[in-house]
Symmetry: C2
Subunit: 232 residues, 2 copies
Amino acid sequence: MVQILNLGSNKLASERVRRKYEARQLEILHAAARVFRRCGLAAAGMREIAEEADLSPGNLYHYFSGKDEILLFCQDRTLEHMLAAAKAAQRSAVPVAEQVRAVMRDHVHCMLDELEGATAHLEVEALPEELRKPVIKKRDAYEGAVRALVAKGMKRGEFAPGDASLVTRAMLGAVNWTARWYRPDGAQSVAEIAQSLSDYLVRGLGAAAPSTRAAAPSTRSARVAAASGVRK
Amino acid sequence: MVQILNLGSNKLASERVRRKYEARQLEILHAAARVFRRCGLAAAGMREIAEEADLSPGNLYHYFSGKDEILLFCQDRTLEHMLAAAKAAQRSAVPVAEQVRAVMRDHVHCMLDELEGATAHLEVEALPEELRKPVIKKRDAYEGAVRALVAKGMKRGEFAPGDASLVTRAMLGAVNWTARWYRPDGAQSVAEIAQSLSDYLVRGLGAAAPSTRAAAPSTRSARVAAASGVRK
DNA sequence: CTAGAATTCGAACTATGGTTCAAATTTTGA
DNA sequence: TCAAAATTTGAACCATAGTTCGAATTCTAG
């Protein structure tokens, strides 16, 4: 994401001030993510983001070129996270069914946990053509990774044969949709939702039932650690 | 939908002109639906809707109180359609699995066929609180109908036991998501998509295979195995 | 045919929200 | 301590898009 986000850091000052600058950038981005999550993307105004980040509206433009760039970061960060999770699952030594389940669980966590402004990643259309392209590319890469897992399972006979592309989109739709109906004060936890949902989605692939679960680093800390390690 | 949409038809003129008036209303609504579908809801401006419907921007307000009312209609119409399909499936004398498949197929058709502006039904947040309420209510009714079908299937043992509410939301997410990725010039037809998707979604319920087999679910041992270890 | 109603137009109004900017304040580095 | 750089402010700018309005045109009906 750093590649995309090379802000106007041309005339770099001393190291010390640069650190502070980038730290403040991150604070602002987290604040923005919170606002995106609270209200929708459309309803989130610069003035509101500014207030959430404790600075004046105009000052936002000292750190970002505009709203688009802020949104771009949120989307990119979310996709980067999910992509890393998919790659990690791909490498793990568990049945494909469990790999897919892991990816779906991670996706749900990414959507519903408070940390990121992941809901913003659903509204790619909001970006102007220019900025949209790299996001689309990354999103396609993620979808491709999931599809590859599904296809692998089908090829190995672990899943019933079928249209991997269509089924992948169905699964992604189901998990993305959670952002619409999930309420933090609901009956079940995010982990429970992630578990049940991924079980259902993989069952539709015609896989065997999840073996009495033993494998897969499904603890939250493990996932976060794995994901953050990828980020540079 | 007529109840909600009782436009300013207070001082009704002659029957003849009223017919014409309402016909023009429908034309406009269809045009709006087309624009909603083409661009997103956000990008669809009144001026663009006006052009699509072959009248001036200002003239739109002779037929509707504003953009909200137009959007309200599209959402209401779509939901009414889906609700009717759900009710119809409920009454049909086929296995529950096939009932659910029928509802999902209808839902997909409703989303992807050119006739309606169904994509708009996904953006309920765009409406002001006042108008939103009845739409939410109808949407909940539809979701409830689907959930009832799923629960019935579970109760009868035709589906594996599970969280009917969660699974229903997953299914609806998958079908709603089609509006995001479907392209009319794609490889497969809407009907094919609807078929494959509904098959996949119902398969995840632990039902018997679609057409080839009769209503009787698979062997007891298979069902038990499928349900084991998953649920909370 | 003609008066009144219905329809249509398009320019102008207005509210919203992203953005700019010049000046004030704070921080940095020597 | 002081000058230059960095940060911050808040008001103002401006573009978009929903909406209003009065006048012009067309249609209906007696």
